[in-house]
């Protein structure tokens, strides 16, 4: 099952309509959280809002996640160790206040298990790469080890 999310604030019709068009030919069923978007999907299960507990169950059960380039989405994919395809929102299309999602997508484009679709035409290819991707193991980055260690030192110093 492929999980699609547009985040908790705004709809993202461009992404949802593109995935809907691809859905009949994808090798897995698609479930989409569409937020306040106005496009009504025909080929995939869609819900405006999904309760946190249910959403976590879906994420855990999914093979991969498709979403906007939001840090919440990236964190969720990392937590459940699922390959992630991101389509950044663009300010010029009225999808967001500014282009920081493009900056975010740039920052994560080369990360293992993350696949950026810069345009809707790239979605199909990115999804295929994500479905074939293996190696989402619990590989903790050195940056996270550093942060955890720094917190540990702080606690060692200030806790009895």
């Amino acid at each position: 099952m492929i999980l699609v999310t547009v985040g908790t604030q705004l709809g993202f019709d461009r992404l949802i309509s593109a995935i809907d068009a691809l859905a009949p030919n994808l090798p897995a069923p698609v479930v989409a959280q569409v937020g306040s978007g106005s496009y009504v999907p025909k080929y995939m299960e869609a819900r405006a809002l999904i309760a946190p507990a249910d959403f976590e169950d879906l994420a855990r059960a999914s093979q991969m996640i498709v979403g906007h380039a939001g840090t919440g989405t990236i964190l969720m994919a990392a937590r459940f160790e699922k390959p992630l395809v991101m389509l950044p929102r663009q300010a010029s299309l009225g999808e967001h206040r500014n282009d920081h999602q493009i900056a975010t997508a740039n920052a994560f484009a080369t990360r293992a298990g993350v696949f950026v679709a810069w345009d809707v035409q790239d979605l199909d290819g990115a999804i295929m790469k994500a479905l074939r991707y293996v190696g989402m193991g619990e590989s903790q980055t050195s940056a996270r080890s550093q942060l955890l260690e720094s917190i540990g030192k702080f606690l060692d110093r200030w806790c009895e």
Partner: protein, 159 residues
Amino acid sequence: MKVLEAYLKGKRVSILAASSGGGHWEELMLLKPAFEGRQVHYVTTDSKIAEYHGVYSASVVIDCNQNQPLKSIVCLIMAIRVILKVRPEVVISTGAAPGFFCIFAGRLLGARTLWIDSFANGEELSMCGRLSKSVAHECWTQWDHLSLGTRPAYRGSIL
């Protein structure tokens, strides 16, 4: 004042870990391994989120942001009450405003405080992060290019 000081020096929970629901909470959960072996009490804005992560020692405060002065006052009062009840040695927060109020209350009531600005703030420190430069004992950013020596300092990042 002396009575309060004596009260504060009594036995305390080690860590109060505070964060709003959503992405801030996700981050805090990823930091849990650092709390291993210590007594932790959590503060968040949604009790369901706490339960779902298997966190049972949690208090809930009202959610608020910088544009909601009345809610913010209520949130601060709730934070002070939690700190008085729990008496942590240390308060850690990943944001947002409710987490900041726990840092503020912790600072007032004798805890050592650490603000870790959210990973989502990759272009500039959040507003509460800027306030934490003066209010918290330690203020960290998760982006090296945003660090300014020790305030905020770069000490690693969750991703």
